[in-house]
Symmetry: C2
């Protein structure tokens, strides 16, 4: 995930898209392996998106959020084109959809707005019902708007493309302290290398319900069940 | 900012520390230039913290969040030590503070908990009133817990260290569309290169109050005032 925008790095706007995407991908068995926020700077976006593209490998995908509006601080299409040696070409079907959208509202489709239809090319351009905004896919880099409502709508409409082997999860809530469960968890983690085991102290600081959550997840259901059984036998999980 | 944790990348827990830090630094004139989330993976943490350290230069700082608890999935001290060729050494003053903390609660200071006092060394170790958790500074890399309450308390207690030339900001809220203001904003941005100008459509989609927020900020107060005057003269700002 690549989040683009000075406003995020200044704390003026909190990024809600990464958390949403993380959850949506996880539910489909896809691992989010990295998320980075960069400023509205073409060179930084170019270098970072190339790095992320390489990290995720040929079957992976990168999602970008932000920087595709009509104003001077919107630099994402330009940067994506530069990163993958594409041209910026006015995209006919996008112009048609914009035209229809703005005509309905009596708003002029001026040059500034047409910048939003100058897309990296060649690229795959996907449309989403309910918005004219194109979802551009350049070599597995999916370019999305920063506005959370649109980001979710557009990713959600194309989630079919993203699916991995599903992981199953199970939690143990306990009143034991992290320091008391650490050695046992470490043993269990070593016994079950295909099971990911995390331990999370209750961040609220209110331990009336539980002190620590132990989360197990795995793509191997038998291993998960066996590891969970080991946790329940060796530690005190609440019912 | 480097956020460490599988739980964030799975969407189980949303990272609240980046947004808080961004705002706190911005208010003190310090630019946050990048934020990255990585999994609980030593090699990934090592490579990323080295990269971030280099990016921010000798006067910059890196903040890490998460991975300093007592369990097997807590790998941050180990990774920071590896990244900067430090040893992990049990830190006497931290042990004393832990001892006092756990004694009060009748909790055993076992080996697992003592892992939390095995700190990269040499390093500067800062303490914060109200918690035994040390704030370790290795060559400008400040190592913090992921729990937001502690993260804020500990950064907050040492914010004096971080100060830059203050930027001042001013906003214009408008009912004009981004496509209608784009050319003018672009001109103004070119006329005032020391002023950063961002334009943000109202993400709620409810335009009854405003459609677009234009945010100006600069460390040059005169330039800011002149740019804001230009915005008010050439665009329709709401009162």
């Amino acid at each position: 995930m690549l989040v683009i925008g000075d406003e995020i790095l200044r704390g003026n706007i909190a990024d809600a898209n990464t958390a949403w995407l993380a959850k949506a991908l996880h539910a489909r068995g896809v691992d989010l392996v990295r998320a980075t926020v960069v400023p509205d700077d073409v060179a930084d976006i170019v270098a970072t998106v190339r790095d992320l593209r390489e990290r995720v490998g040929p079957h992976g995908a990168v999602f970008t959020s932000g920087g595709i509006g009509p104003t001077h601080d919107d630099k994402t299409y330009e940067a994506i084109a530069a990163a993958f040696d594409r041209a910026l070409v006015r995209h006919g079907p996008t112009v048609e959809r914009m035209q229809e959208h703005y005509d309905k509202r009596g708003v002029e489709l001026n040059d500034a707005r047409l910048r939003m239809a100058a897309l990296p090319s060649p690229a795959e351009v996907l449309f989403t019902e309910g918005t004219w905004v194109p979802l551009v896919n350049v070599d597995g880099v999916y370019v999305l708007p920063g506005i959370p409502r649109l980001f979710k709508q557009m990713v959600g409409a194309h989630l079919d493309r993203f699916r991995g082997p599903l992981a199953t999860g199970a939690d143990c809530f306990t009143q034991m302290g992290e320091g008391d469960i650490a050695d046992t968890l470490s043993e269990i983690a070593q016994e079950f290398p295909t099971v990911s085991i995390g331990s999370y102290p209750n961040a609220s600081g209110d331990y009336s319900k539980y002190k620590v959550k132990i989360s197990l997840s795995s793509r191997d259901q038998e291993a998960l069940a066996a590891a969970m059984q080991a946790v329940r036998e060796r530690l005190e999980c609440l019912e």
